[in-house]
């Protein structure tokens, strides 16, 4: 490894890019060639042979990859979670006991609960409100694009954006360059060091995730609202329902299923997110969440036992959602 490092260090960035792109071209061409070749060969086989070759070509690669790359690792993680840091000895439930007793990890679990409660609820609520307000607007395009835009950028990019908003100037003599600090100073005469302020900092990080997810909620909910039959809305209007009343008594009940889907999708995304915390505070100052702590345990502390246990706890949080979604999908299929 080290020899490769030294060798690479002599290369200029452009040489590295050129090398990487040659590998890229080779990989894409090889992949394309294999696919085309397999297809040409398979096409020539007899109709009878195709009856089983078709499974081999179409279904087997994906299924094999999922078995090796998702199912096997997931089971292996479960096993590792009952073993010690270096995966050499079984330690029973020790890693789980650790997770629920060490004060720092209890804070991690508490923060995660806070994220999972607040992000889906607030994003969906704001998303619903905007979707409703723009539902029959003449040109909602720009508004929707602006609110949806954070969905397109990375969590890392979003974290930089918000870290700048929260940035804090320790010296009294220099002006604030962070928007929030400047506003706070104008109003109160002083500004705290936002990201160090416990427990405010956790909420400030949660705001970033809400900022990202609201656009998703809005787009999906707006599409569902468009599907409400005009007659229903008109009937409510002829009854003299105010817009607010109509929102709660017509719109919400009509799109209930979609609201649930949006809530669950955001919940899963929130459980898994680690980029925001990692980039903004590194999980310090009591802002850590389970996905970030899992990464630190596994790849910083190199403790595969506790890292795996945290991954399993994360997964257990998601199981009810998977179960609910499958039931929903089943029902939908039988209706079809």
């Amino acid at each position: 490894m080290s020899s490769i490092g030294i060798l690479a260090a002599r290369e200029t960035p452009w040489e590295i890019v050129a090398n990487n792109f040659s590998l890229l071209a080779v990989a894409l061409l090889a992949f394309g060639a294999i696919v085309v070749l397999v297809f040409l060969l398979a096409e020539r086989t007899s109709v009878k042979a195709q009856e089983w070759i078709k499974y081999l070509v179409f279904i087997a690669p994906a299924v094999l990859l999922l078995l090796i790359g998702l199912i096997y690792p997931a089971i292996r993680t479960l096993v590792l979670s009952f073993m010690d840091a270096r995966s050499e000895e079984f330690v029973g439930f020790e890693n789980y006991v650790w997770a629920f007793t060490i004060p720092e990890i209890v804070i991690v679990l508490r923060n995660t609960a806070l994220w999972v409660f607040l992000v889906p609820l607030v994003s969906t609520a704001i998303g619903l409100a905007i979707a409703y307000m723009t539902d029959r607007m003449k040109r909602p395009g720009i508004i929707k694009s602006l609110i949806f835009m954070p969905m397109a950028i990375s969590f890392v990019g979003a974290s930089v954006i918000w870290k700048f908003v929260y940035s804090y100037e320790p010296s009294d003599k220099r002006p604030e360059i962070g928007l929030l600090s400047a506003i706070s100073k104008a109003l109160n005469g002083s500004a705290p060091n936002w990201l160090l302020e416990i427990p405010l900092n956790t909420f400030l990080l949660i705001i970033v995730m809400i900022w990202i997810q609201t656009g998703f909620a809005m787009v999906v909910l707006a599409a569902a609202m468009k599907n409400i039959p005009d007659e229903v809305v008109e009937a409510a209007m002829l009854d003299g329902a105010t817009p607010i009343k109509r929102f709660f008594q017509v719109t919400i009940p009509m799109i209930r299923a979609t609201v649930v889907v949006v809530l669950t999708t955001i919940t899963i995304a929130t459980l898994k997110v680690f980029d925001v915390v990692r980039t903004m505070t590194g999980g310090n100052f009591q802002t850590n969440v389970i996905a970030n702590e899992m990464y630190s345990q596994a790849f910083r502390q190199m403790n595969y036992g506790t890292g795996s246990a945290l991954a399993i706890i994360l997964f257990i949080g998601i199981i009810p959602i998977i179960w609910y979604n499958i039931r929903q999908l089943r029902r939908e299929r039988t209706e079809r």
Binding site: M133, I143, S159, L271, R278
Partner: protein
């Protein structure tokens, strides 16, 4: 009466919803939502000294534009701290195969799941659907070991150590695996809606399963493939976790997100570098987003409203 009242009601509906209050409120939220990004963009084109000594909102009273920051962050660097443009191309080199591979495998699998009749088909489909929400965290440690040590059960070597650590290959494979469940699910939804008569007519004409795929199924599924491609592109381009786990040790292959996250972490990087760097990392997704928003939304809706 009914026919007469309908247009009026509709017009009324328009009037109520496009009431100035609702519009103003929606605009206000949209502007509020954009200010943080806008502030970063404005800062990125200010000279270093201005960024660190005054708020970006003061820019408008004394506009002072400079592209130094972009020049510095993109092209200045050392061998241990390579310039950002190298990471830009790394991201590109990671993303292209990580979009092409899963889509190819997924459109194959989706075709099989939608049109082959076999025992256990529904079970397989539901299993793949369920795999969508398996958190990546659950697979990282074993997958990393699999790439570095191969796969052994006792003394039996199932997969040997391929010596691919430190190259793009683990990153591509990992992204392919993680993208497959959603890709199969979305494409299956689409492919199963192709009219049965069309498929049966082709079969009667003597088209084998492979000809049927290349002549009829594939051309028809291009829009669905496009939708998912955008999805996967943004996902891979914006990913930090996979890049960090499978490619962070090696600067030659680490994606831009890893680099930016590193820059935020180090005390040395000032806002002049961070603002420009962050924007470089966002520019491609933003272009993709604003030009292909329609497809993106379509993919999003297929994935969530139906599921």
């Amino acid at each position: 009466m009914a026919t007469l009242s309908m247009p009026t009601a509709k017009r009324k509906a328009k009037n109520i919803f496009s009431s100035p209050i609702a519009s103003a409120a929606a605009w206000l939220i949209a502007i509020f939502w954009t200010i943080p990004t806008f502030g970063l963009l404005v800062s990125s084109i200010r000279p270093e000294q201005d960024i660190n000594s005054s708020g970006w909102w003061t820019f408008f009273s004394a506009p002072n534009v400079s592209f130094e920051n972009y020049q510095a962050v993109l092209f200045e660097g050392t061998t241990t701290n390579p310039p950002l443009f190298q990471f830009f191309f790394n991201s590109l080199a990671i993303t292209l195969p990580a979009v092409v591979f899963p889509i190819t495998l997924a459109v194959f699998a989706a075709y099989g799941l939608a049109w082959f009749e076999f025992k256990g088909r529904d079970f397989l489909f539901f299993s793949i659907f369920a795999l969508q929400v398996v958190p990546l965290q659950l697979t990282l440690i074993p997958l990393l070991q699999l790439f570095s040590q191969g796969l052994k059960f006792g003394d039996v070597t199932v997969i040997p150590d391929l010596g691919i650590t430190g190259t793009y290959i683990p990153v591509w494979i990992a992204h392919t695996i993680f993208g497959l469940p959603l890709a199969i699910f979305l494409l299956h939804n689409f492919l199963s809606q192709i009219p049965r008569e069309l498929v049966e007519a082709a079969r009667v004409d003597g088209a084998g399963w492979f000809k049927l795929f290349s002549k009829i199924i594939l051309p028809l599924s291009i829009p669905a493939i496009a939708s998912f491609a955008i999805f996967q592109f943004l996902w891979v381009w914006n990913d930090l976790l996979v890049g960090l786990t499978f490619g962070a040790g090696t600067k030659e292959i680490a994606p831009m997100t890893v680099r930016i996250a590193e820059m935020v972490g180090t005390r040395g990087s000032g806002w002049e570098v961070l603002t420009a760097g962050a924007f470089v990392s966002m520019i491609v997704p933003l272009i993709v987003f604003f030009t292909l928003q329609r497809y993106f939304v379509r993919g999003l809706l297929a994935g969530s409203v139906k599921g």
